[in-house]
């Protein structure tokens, strides 16, 4: 790994690192050599600064650049940050810009007509089915968000305030699902809710029902249950972090001022944990609105969401501009809703005194 701290250093005396054992002969040689070279560099620099007075501009340039680099914290930071930034510009920003561009173009056969047009967006608004699916997606993930955050809050509260020993084990237990295969977690619901699945076969073998229940799988409820389960862990961590940060003496102060347990929770704990709640809600609402796997697996015809529509445009029909317009409008719509929601919640909580 080349560390960009070296940017400045390389300009002074070239790369001079090697990973050999410290204190080895080569090291000693190198350091002596470096010392000698530095003397030369210093002498040369003196010489250069004199000569640049006579109008020799180019040698002074690197000295000045180096001086600027050394003096500026920001320059060093940006240089160090540049690999990540360039990666993200190339792989995140550029594609998103292209996506926006595509949404204003037209698919003609296998080619794309790059004349600007708002037709794709008009198409979306005019076709009731698209609008319906959009609202359906919003409603479903709104419900998922509500359920998930509602269930996660007490859980996070328990870990933050109730667990004294081995908190770490609880935290690991709650983070494992975050990292493990989402596909497989969603898939497990398919085998649970299926026509010949776990629930139906279980109930039949217990004698509770004769015929399999057909309403379990392939509908909106199945999607909501699966998403709520799949995203459960996502909500806990932000809420937990905001609860954990609360200074316990604040609660003592509230008690000292006459608040009972409920009042303390409602007037101190909850408002202070709000950033976590909002964070959790956003972290669930945004990706679930755009979720593809779950509706594709357990949604059936009535449980399809916006992402399924986008996928069809891209991989089946091949109308990329229309797919792009769908994606952009969905993102914009979700962004607006999220901002409205966060503002509304903050305003509501400000009324708690």
């Amino acid at each position: 790994m080349i560390f960009w701290d070296f940017f400045g250093l390389c300009m002074a005396n070239g790369g001079n690192s090697h990973t050999g054992g410290v204190g080895c002969g080569r090291c000693q040689f190198l350091s002596r050599w470096r010392l000698a070279r530095n003397r030369v560099v210093v002498r040369a620099r003196k010489h250069l600064s004199v000569s640049s007075d006579h109008g020799g501009a180019s040698p002074g340039f690197f000295d000045r650049l180096r001086a600027f680099y050394l003096r500026s914290d920001a320059a060093k930071g940006y240089v160090l940050l540049s690999p990540v930034m360039l990666t993200m510009i190339a792989l995140l920003a550029a594609p998103l810009i292209l996506l926006v561009l595509y949404s204003f173009w037209t698919q003609v056969g296998l080619k794309v007509d790059t004349n600007w047009t708002g037709d794709r967006y008009r198409e979306l608004i005019e076709k009731q089915a698209y609008v319906d699916i959009f609202w359906r997606s919003i409603q479903m993930s709104g419900l998922v968000t509500l359920v998930t955050v509602g269930l996660a809050y007490p859980m996070a509260y328990f870990v933050a305030f109730g667990v004294k020993k081995n908190k770490f084990i609880w935290l690991i237990l709650l983070t494992i699902p975050f990292w493990t295969s989402y596909l497989l977690r969603a898939f497990s619901w398919k085998i649970i809710l299926g026509y010949n699945g776990v629930i139906n076969s279980g109930l039949i073998s217990l004698g509770a029902i004769q015929e399999p229940l057909s309403f379990l799988l392939y509908n909106q409820t199945a999607v909501v249950i699966t998403l709520a389960h799949a995203y459960a862990a996502f909500a806990i961590l932000p809420i937990y972090v905001s609860l954990e940060k609360i200074d316990r003496t604040l609660l003592e102060a509230a008690a000292d001022l006459g608040d009972g347990a409920w009042a303390r929770f409602w007037r101190v704990t909850f408002p202070l944990s709000l950033p976590g709640v909002i964070g959790a809600a956003v972290l669930i609402f945004v990706p679930t609105t755009g979720d593809y796997v779950t509706p594709a697996l357990v949604g059936g015809p009535t449980g399809q969401m916006i992402a399924n529509l986008i996928q069809i445009q891209f991989l089946k029909i091949g109308d990329w501009p229309l797919g792009s317009a769908l994606a952009i409008s969905a993102m914009a719509g979700v962004a607006i809703l999220v901002m409205l929601f966060a503002t509304a919640l903050q305003l509501a909580v400000r009324r708690i005194r």
Binding site: V22, G23, C27, R66, L70, A74
Partner: protein, 363 residues
């Protein structure tokens, strides 16, 4: 010309979007000197030290270390070493390896390395602690290890960034004496950053007072205290009473002044004093004394005791003088044992002083 190991020439450091952390600093540090940078937190003293060390680079000006222009030489190529405020003991290395860190870099190994490190351990009285990890040491021991780690490199200048700040009072006082002795015995120039004026006064050969990025005065401790160069230095070092005065006349080495609430005052003249000039006369609280009856001669002023505090070896009084908004602050030595007495609140008293203790300062 003195032998200057460090020359700071018109050095200014401006951080992006911020005020000047160091503003046009210009001074020298002599070889073998114990030099302190003293100032309140955020005054730029640490930034200045970090520029000498090579962690920050001046926006303007030049720093010469041992006559080499160094402002753009990175830390690892400078003949300076530093004792960090947090000590920065490498947590993944034991004491021996911490002290050996810089020596290994210089290519030392085997017996020579061992000898040098053990010598350093002896110097800081931690023989046999080599195998301990940093987390098994007390604060004072960590401070010593940091010191040894820097000194073992035999730097031309040792930089110390508030090295005693984290220690408790008693240990700090012990370390002040030890550090001073150590500096004399190794003969290395120390540049010592502190916000503790007593620390700076007791240890340093010379002190630079910094306030808001500016170096206000550089002087030996006694001069700094007894003859501060301006009002800011006077009020930063110790406590002081300030009296606004107007010059009435200037005689041979003596000036006659008119002070608000004090009437006519005498003080030693300073250069270029002109009649009618407005100045500040300053006097340290311990140069003042309280008496209950009007003195026959000398400098004095009448006042009323507003508040008093008994501190054992001395007592502090706030004396209200007519014509002044701020009280006069008097620190009286309790030279005699007295279970009662002192000066009660609301009592009318006279504040007296030797006229030569007044210091004239320009705003």
């Amino acid at each position: 010309m003195a032998d200057n190991i460090i020359r700071i020439e018109k050095v200014t450091k401006q951080f992006a979007g911020g005020a000047k952390a160091v503003d046009d600093a210009h001074f020298n540090v002599e070889r073998g000197e114990f030099f302190s940078l003293l100032g309140p937190s955020g005054c730029g003293k640490t930034t200045l030290l970090r520029m000498i060390a090579g962690f920050e680079f001046p926006s303007e000006g030049e720093i010469y270390i041992d006559n080499q222009a160094s402002s753009l030489i990175p830390a690892y190529q400078r003949p300076t070493n530093m004792v960090f405020q947090s000590y920065a003991i490498f947590p993944h290395l034991n004491v021996f390896d911490n002290i050996a860190y810089g020596l290994r870099k210089s290519g030392l190994s085997g017996g020579e390395l061992k000898r040098r490190v053990n010598e350093a351990l002896g110097m800081i009285k931690l023989d046999g602690f080599g195998a301990r990890r940093g987390d098994q040491l007390s604060g004072g021991q960590r401070q010593r290890v940091a010191l040894a780690r820097a000194l073992v490199k035999r730097p031309k200048v040792l930089l110390l960034d508030e090295p005693l700040g984290a220690l408790d009072k008693k240990l700090r006082e012990e370390m002040q004496i030890e550090l001073r002795q150590l500096q004399k015995s190794v003969g290395i120039t120390f540049v010592f950053v502190t916000h503790d004026q007593e620390e700076a006064l007791s240890m340093s050969d010379r002190i630079a007072v910094m306030v808001k990025g500016k170096v206000l005065q550089i002087a030996p401790p006694q001069e700094l205290y007894e003859a501060p160069g301006n009002v800011e230095v006077a009020s930063f070092i110790g406590s002081i009473n300030l009296i606004d005065v107007t010059v009435k006349s200037v005689g041979a080495g003596e000036a006659v002044l008119d002070g608000a609430g004090f009437g006519q005052l005498r003080a030693r003249a300073i250069d270029d004093l002109k009649a009618g000039e407005k100045l500040v006369a300053a006097v340290r609280p311990e140069k003042l004394a309280l008496v209950s009856s009007r003195p026959g001669s000398g400098s004095f002023v009448e006042g009323t005791v507003k508040a008093s505090a008994y501190l054992g070896d001395r007592s502090h009084y706030h004396v209200f003088v007519k014509g002044r908004t701020t009280p006069i602050y008097v620190a009286a030595q309790n030279a005699e044992r007295a279970m009662t007495g002192g000066f009660d609140t609301a009592k009318s008293v006279y504040v007296t002083w030797d006229w030569q203790s007044l210091i004239l300062l320009r705003r």
